[in-house]
Symmetry: C2
Subunit: 196 residues, 2 copies
DNA sequence: TATCTTTGTAAGTGATTACTCACTTTAAGA
DNA sequence: TCTTAAAGTGAGTAATCACTTACAAAGATA
């Protein structure tokens, strides 16, 4: 019997959740399967997390820490808006590619359970991401680099579609993407919208 | 005991599925709840559909008939590409608004079950929609109306993000949308991308 | 070495799942 | 009016779900 600290087990459990989700879908995400994946008994899961929901919520907190916060830094930097927009896009696509299970988990779990807390956290993540793009765009317009008739709201809506559509394609077809060329092509289109 | 034909009951069952999904989320979509919503016994459900999966698949067929086919007509019409693109966009947004449960059902059920048949049908719907936009764009480029350096693939990817993001926002916040102004704003941005 | 907290487990819990089956009721056609 | 096929029912099925509990073992500290 190997004993590990709660901290380590929590990480192992969260990793197992993402692996199962990506490999087999949400239906297979049972506490029994999570335990099997980690290599502990089902009861042990509840030593380290109070409920199954707590596991998902903790993963969402990781997303905020590992993805939204870096995104915030990029957006609020004192750098040329075009460079910031490019970095924002690349960071988003890269995170998505490297964490395929996560977005799938968040969207499907939130709509499956229809749980208020989970929806709230997911909305926060989604809105933060959107607002940070909006900030870059309004900076660019204020600096008279970009077309002031472009609505930041409409633009950020369109922008959010890029990672979400990619996510859908990954979920449906397991398709992979070449980050560099993908970012470049999308950036070209975005700049055409923003140009005067 | 009221008796109705299988055809009518099938429609009632499919309507119940969408109502439950939109109102309470996928977790509440049990055959027991469907039966309760329709007002028949659980056993009756299986008189009219072989399995629960058959119900979902039948709903997806409805989407092809009621949404993809009209979209195909619009796209293949002999009309000015700009008009066709606008009609395609409006039809998409309108269908989404009037059938809020459907897209939610398709995406979450497909990723929940991770079922091959369901994923295949969903991919077909998704790809058809995307290809039809691509057709309009390549027509416009061939007619030398639009910038030939724009990749139809990248454009259609970006385009697909519009309905999907709207769908996510509806799912998360129950947000509604003013179709006319929403279409106009997005159309403006799309035309900027396509312009020479 | 003795104690005590933490981590582990096996075997449960009741609730819920999709689906079946033996049987009854309805309504249309002969 | 009689027959028959279709529609409806309620009580079942085994499987699975998240979670609990009583108890054992490990490892750090005294």
């Amino acid at each position: 019997m190997v004993r590990k600290s709660t901290e380590i087990r929590q990480e192992e459990i969260k990793k197992a959740v993402l692996d199962i989700i990506y490999r087999s879908g949400l239906k297979k995400l049972s506490t029994k399967n999570i335990a099997k994946e980690v290599g502990i008994s089902e009861g042990s899961i509840f030593r380290h997390f109070g409920t199954k929901k707590d596991i998902i919520m903790s993963i969402m907190d990781d997303v905020i820490k590992d993805f939204i916060e870096p995104l915030r830094e990029i957006s609020l930097q004192n750098e040329h808006p075009e460079k910031r927009l490019y970095k924002h896009l690349c960071k988003t696509i890269t995170y998505l590619k490297e964490n395929k299970g996560i977005t799938l988990l968040m969207f499907s779990e939130a709509s499956y359970e229809n749980d208020v807390d989970m929806k709230e956290k997911l909305t926060h993540i989604f809105q933060s991401q959107r607002q940070l793009v909006g900030k870059i765009v309004s900076d660019g317009i204020a600096m008279q680099l970009w077309d002031e008739s472009v609505s930041t709201d409409s633009f950020s809506h369109l922008y959010m579609g890029i990672p979400i559509t990619l996510n859908v394609e990954i979920a449906l077809k397991g398709e992979d993407v070449d980050i560099k060329s993908f970012c470049k092509h999308n950036m070209d289109m975005l700049l055409k919208i923003l140009s005067k």
